[in-house]
Amino acid sequence: MKYELNVNGQARTVDVDADIPLLWILRDVLGMTGTKFGCGMALCGACTVHLDGQPVRSCSTAVAAVGEKAITTIEAIGRTEVGQRVQRAWVAKQVPQCGYCQSGQIMAAAALLSATSSPSDTDIDQAMSGNVCRCGTYGRIREAIKVAARDTTTKGG
């Protein structure tokens, strides 16, 4: 069945079964491998993308459930102001080790900062608790989120 998807602002048509997870549409059909498979069960957050700005687990979101919602992936989060701040902070704080979870971490952090401009430690704990990191970069993630929150470089630009 054909589905018209809005992926990072572009209309993309895919001809797939209805229950195929969005993750595999992005990676296998559209060749966008920035979003990662971690568990396939919505437990790790590596597959996080945004639908209409809200984070979802693409491994557990059937393509038929997407509808007309705008999909934003790690490939395009840097086009947003908050995404740019997160990416700058991630580099400044040298957050990634192996990097595998970091697409999901960045997508979750961007959603947090869009909703809460100056998150407390509790806000960060609760928002980021669904994104796991085997390398244990949690301390740097927390610091980078705070740096991104304070970053005023592109505000108003």
Partner: protein, 191 residues
């Protein structure tokens, strides 16, 4: 004199009939109340089932599983029972169960408000009274409660819970119990 006697006799006759009617009415009402309370005790078995009670928590988080452990990944209630910022319920819980049945889904997935918490009620009486309390239940009378439990997608999900166990009372029997409870006055058990 004869008229007075006849009047008294008539009065006594009516009093007897009225008294018998009152007794019969009282008996019928007691029978209704008993039937109502018995129906609610069965309804409570569903309300206390994990598929229902895991979201009618008194905590700042939902529960999971038949053992009702705290929902993994430190999911929290949030300001409106829908999670918080980057960890909303809808991150994972879609409009229907995931295709493999592992992740529950239904329209408008969220926690019941704290005022509708049930897990702290130790008796069916307390559960019933809380359920019926219009200051706690969104101002629902018995009819509205019954309607809610017939039609709300989150309630109905309990019988289509993917890989999880549904309540041991079928949906059809549950709805019949609700109707019986309503029809017999929506009374609460005495314990």
């Amino acid at each position: 004199m004869r008229n007075i006697t006849a009047s008294i006799a008539t009065l006594l006759l009516f009093a007897g009939v009225a008294s018998q009617g009152l007794a019969q009415g009282s008996g019928a009402r007691n029978a209704d109340r008993t039937a109502s309370a018995e129906a609610f005790k069965k309804i409570a078995e569903v309300l206390r089932h994990p598929r229902c009670q895991n979201c009618h928590t008194v905590t700042e988080f939902p529960r999971q599983g038949d053992d009702r452990h705290r929902h993994h990944q430190m999911v929290v209630r949030g300001p409106s029972g829908r999670g918080t910022s980057a960890m909303l319920c809808s991150n994972c819980h879609q409009e229907k169960n995931s295709p493999d049945g592992l992740i529950p889904g239904a329209h408008n997935w969220h926690l019941a408000p704290l005022s509708m918490a049930w897990e702290q009620h130790k008796t069916d009486k307390a559960l019933c009274e809380s359920l019926k309390d219009r200051s706690l239940n969104g101002d629902k009378n018995v009819a509205a409660l019954v309607h809610h439990m017939h039609t709300d997608p989150l309630v109905l999900w309990a019988w289509e819970p993917g890989t999880r166990k549904p309540p041991h009372i079928s949906k059809e029997e549950f709805q019949a119990l609700l109707k019986r409870w309503e029809k017999t006055g929506g009374a609460c058990p005495t314990n």
